[in-house]
């Protein structure tokens, strides 16, 4: 399974990204890590070039919401990304915020899986469950 990951926008918080890379590899994914400071278009372009199954975006510094509003309009210009599983995690709002409000909002922006301040491994378990369900369906 191919997974493209990175930290969106002008965000330089790199620690979680490194851990993400290690965990994904350990779980047997083929990882394409675009690192910090990655723009939305680069994420989608990387998914096209690699033929990725999952796009996993991190955001830590509070930029997530602004970018997420661009997800649907931009993704709709691509013709080969309909099956791409979209996941986002990290600090998805400025300040603390609560997941009950945040998760549905981000689903509307076009994400299948939303992990606001969720620990990495919990999040990756969610992804595995999601993939299993979808394979079965």
């Amino acid at each position: 399974m191919k997974i493209v990951t990175g930290v969106i926008g002008n965000d330089i918080h790199v620690v979680a990204n490194r851990l993400m890379d290690l965990s994904l590899n350990a779980r047997g994914y083929e990882v394409f890590n675009l690192g910090v400071n990655t723009y939305l278009e680069e994420f989608f372009d990387a998914a096209v070039e690699t033929g990725a199954d999952v796009l996993l975006i991190s955001s830590l510094n509070g930029e997530a919401e602004g970018w997420s509003r661009e997800v649907k309009p931009l993704k709709s210009t691509y013709k080969s990304l309909d099956k791409l599983i979209m996941m986002i995690g990290g600090n998805l709002t400025v300040g603390s915020g609560n997941a009950e409000d945040i998760v549905p909002r981000y689903k509307k922006y076009g994400f299948d899986l939303v992990c606001h301040q969720v620990d990495l491994n919990t999040g990756l378990d969610m992804l595995e469950d999601y993939i299993k369900e979808h394979r079965a369906a």
């Binding site: 191919k2 083929e30 394409f32 675009l34 400071n37 278009e41 680069e42 989608f44 372009d45 990387a46 096209v48 070039e49 690699t50 033929g51 691509y78 013709k79 080969s80």
Partner: protein, 400 residues
């Protein structure tokens, strides 16, 4: 600076040619009614005859270089990587096509020297379907090269006539792999220069291979800091008769392209002051700040119609401004340079014969004020004596 004591260096451009010996450098406007060799011997025969064919080194950008059309999967990877490689090989890009929308692009009417097709890492195949074949069938081109994923390489080979297949320029970690495509394009450019009727005659006076000028200039970039008061990061602007060439330090781009060389090149076709004067004016008319710049220079748009030294000067100043715009966030080209971190701008080419340091600094300051809202002032260095070219040519001649 002196050039090699026993060598004659010649550069043939689209508008000028120049020749350099140990103590002299001469530049002449070309006479387009004459063959290059005749023009050269007419104007500099005595000098040329003094040298043995083995000591004459020639480079040329006279035919404007090869043209390429790039078809790729995405802007951020395949197209960007191929663009980078093509520019560094001295090739001009006439268009780039995002494959998924290929049916919406018009077919270029001109003969294309080489079409580059690229996309996908090796484990991602089946991305180029018959829409590629259909499009290529409508194009006129001399060469076509595939530098994308290996799976499509094998299915495309029997489908597309004369298809050259080279290793993928995108590796399994989405990084760029330059060498194979760069060598292929450099050789193609080389063959093109040698095949040009007009250039062929130049082999009467040299025993050495004739190289492309961008190739030679590129050789000199690492040496510039030792010879000029230039501090990195810098850009080198060569505003010519037909195109404008920009060589820039890698430090000026924050980018996903990680390569070994310290400098990259990009070209703005049709931004020159002689052969592409009309398109330069057109570009100026599309830029809302040009009018202000003209006012600042105390002229108005009627200058476009004028045929005078003053008009040439103004057009060159405009060209500097437009090129800086195109490299900034204001009019993004394929890369955006961090112009606020730039320490020096080196100017070379015909422009140094027409503009003074003051003329240039005036426009550069105008650009920084208007477009970047900044008082930043990179040092401007004029290569009025073609030292950069001599440096590159010399270096190259010495290597041979």
């Amino acid at each position: 600076m002196s050039s090699n004591p026993d060598k004659l260096l010649i550069d043939i451009g689209s508008t000028y040619f120049k020749i350099s010996t140990e103590n002299t450098i001469e530049q002449h406007f070309r006479d387009f009614n004459k063959r290059i060799l005749d023009d050269l011997t007419h104007k500099c025969g005595a000098t040329v005859n003094r040298f043995d064919a083995k000591d004459v080194h020639i480079c040329s950008s006279a035919n404007g270089g090869l043209s390429t059309l790039i078809i790729g999967l995405t802007q951020s990877y395949s197209l960007k990587y191929a663009t980078n490689i093509a520019y560094n090989a001295g090739i001009n890009i006439i268009d780039s096509i995002v494959f998924q929308n290929i049916e919406t692009y018009s077919v270029p009417s001109d003969l294309i020297d080489v079409v580059i097709v690229v996309g996908g890492i090796d484990s991602n195949g089946g991305v180029f379907d018959e829409r590629l074949d259909n499009y290529l069938a409508k194009c006129q081109y001399s060469n076509v090269v595939f530098v994308g994923n290996t799976q499509d390489a094998s299915t495309l080979k029997p489908r597309i006539q004369k298809l050259t297949v080279l290793p993928n320029i995108i590796d399994d970690r989405l990084h760029i792999v330059e060498n194979h495509l760069k060598d292929y394009l450099t050789n193609l450019y080389q063959q093109d220069i040698e095949g040009k009727e007009d250039i062929k005659h130049l082999y009467d006076i040299t025993d050495n291979q004739i190289y492309s000028t961008p190739y030679v200039v590129n050789k000199s970039l690492p040496l510039i800091q030792g010879s000029f008061s230039v501090t990195d990061p810098f850009i080198l602007l060569d505003i010519g008769g037909a195109t404008t060439d920009v060589h820039y330090s890698k430090d000026l781009v924050s980018d996903n392209i990680v390569t070994e060389q310290g400098h990259d090149r990009m070209v703005f076709k049709k931004l020159g002051v002689y052969k592409s004067r009309q398109s330069l004016i057109f570009t100026a008319e599309q830029n809302e700040f040009s009018y202000e710049l003209l006012m600042h220079l105390k002229v108005n748009e009627s200058i476009y119609q004028e045929n005078s030294e003053r008009a040439t000067k103004i057009l060159m100043q405009l060209a500097i401004f437009l090129v800086l715009c195109k490299m900034s966030h204001y009019r993004p080209a394929y890369v955006t340079l961090k112009l606020l971190s730039m320490n020096s701008i080196v100017f070379t080419g015909g422009i140094t014969q027409v503009l003074t340091s003051d003329d240039i600094e005036d426009v550069v300051a105008f650009f920084y004020r208007k477009i970047l809202n900044s008082d930043h002032k990179p040092a401007t260095v004029l290569d009025g004596n073609y030292d950069i070219w001599t440096l590159g040519a010399k270096e190259h001649a010495a290597c041979r």
